[in-house]
Subunit: 205 residues, 2 copies
Amino acid sequence: MQEPAPKRGRGRRPAAEVRQDVYSAVGPILLNEGMGQLSFERVAREAGVSKTTLYRWWPSLGVLILDCYVHAVENELAFNDSGDIKADLTSQLTAFTRVMTKTRGGRVLTELIGAAQTDPELAAEYRRLYSSVRRQAAVKRLAKAQEDGQIREETNLESMVDQLWGAVYHRVLIPDLPVTQTFIDALVGNLLSGTAHSRNPNHLS
Amino acid sequence: MQEPAPKRGRGRRPAAEVRQDVYSAVGPILLNEGMGQLSFERVAREAGVSKTTLYRWWPSLGVLILDCYVHAVENELAFNDSGDIKADLTSQLTAFTRVMTKTRGGRVLTELIGAAQTDPELAAEYRRLYSSVRRQAAVKRLAKAQEDGQIREETNLESMVDQLWGAVYHRVLIPDLPVTQTFIDALVGNLLSGTAHSRNPNHLS
């Protein structure tokens, strides 16, 4: 991060520009091929950046891959605010599911989560670079819906994140059942409308 | 599985008895120590069973560990039917969370899920021996609540499984936030009662 001021005389380019080259080179590889064929060598070659520079900014290949993944999907996973939380949750979850199940990027993420179970450093970077950022974006959209009077004030929004995106992760990581549009619609419908039978309120005090 | 009839003359014990010895020996180790120190050698020694027998019934150490884990937790994770689905979900999720966060068994499970991301055989055995069985038990209890008129008839019960236990797995596998009693209560409350503001039904058609 503490890149010295660029010395153009020696041909060194600005840090932000180099990072962007790495993101641009690696992102499409992750989404199209997955992470199996990636190495520091290949990233250096494809991005036109020295390995020394890569090592300075990314402590491990896992973290480099994660950082590139984050940048590769951030536009696709952005939250829309149409004013209708049900529609916006459905469309974001549909886009998220597409990335997770229709691109090789989904495999990248599940393999990183898998590796993180026995690699505390990777787990910490995963939370810092990806999951906490995604969680924050989701809570922000839900909080807006709360302000708009579409979600009840007392609702625990953080738990909603686990009951929507966490539920999708559950099926992706432990694929007893597929992630379909019917599933996404059920997640949103169940959580917004509730599953309890309203004519039996005594049991749901 | 196709153990020949026991030949007591040669000292061979019934298959079910030997399996039970393995479960009894390995279960407490998994819950108290985790899986780090386990090997076929140690299981053979602790259970008093030959390695040949172990290899015959369990194709890999991961599958043996998984099978023993299933038997070690099945009583604790049993579903109660008090007639009140909200109370029963809360108590089962509390017991499940205790196993996942307060015993070493939780680590066993998350490490097996992690390994399964790059090991298709382990993933298949995980689903066969554990997750599909747990899912079935949960759906059975939810279906009973549906019969009892506590859950609406059109509810997708499979999705509820992902929104309760899947939500807990999400926090255990990607621990941005801890699994607390407040979280469990929010999961059950959100899902049964719904999070949408009832005075704003237009947005939730």
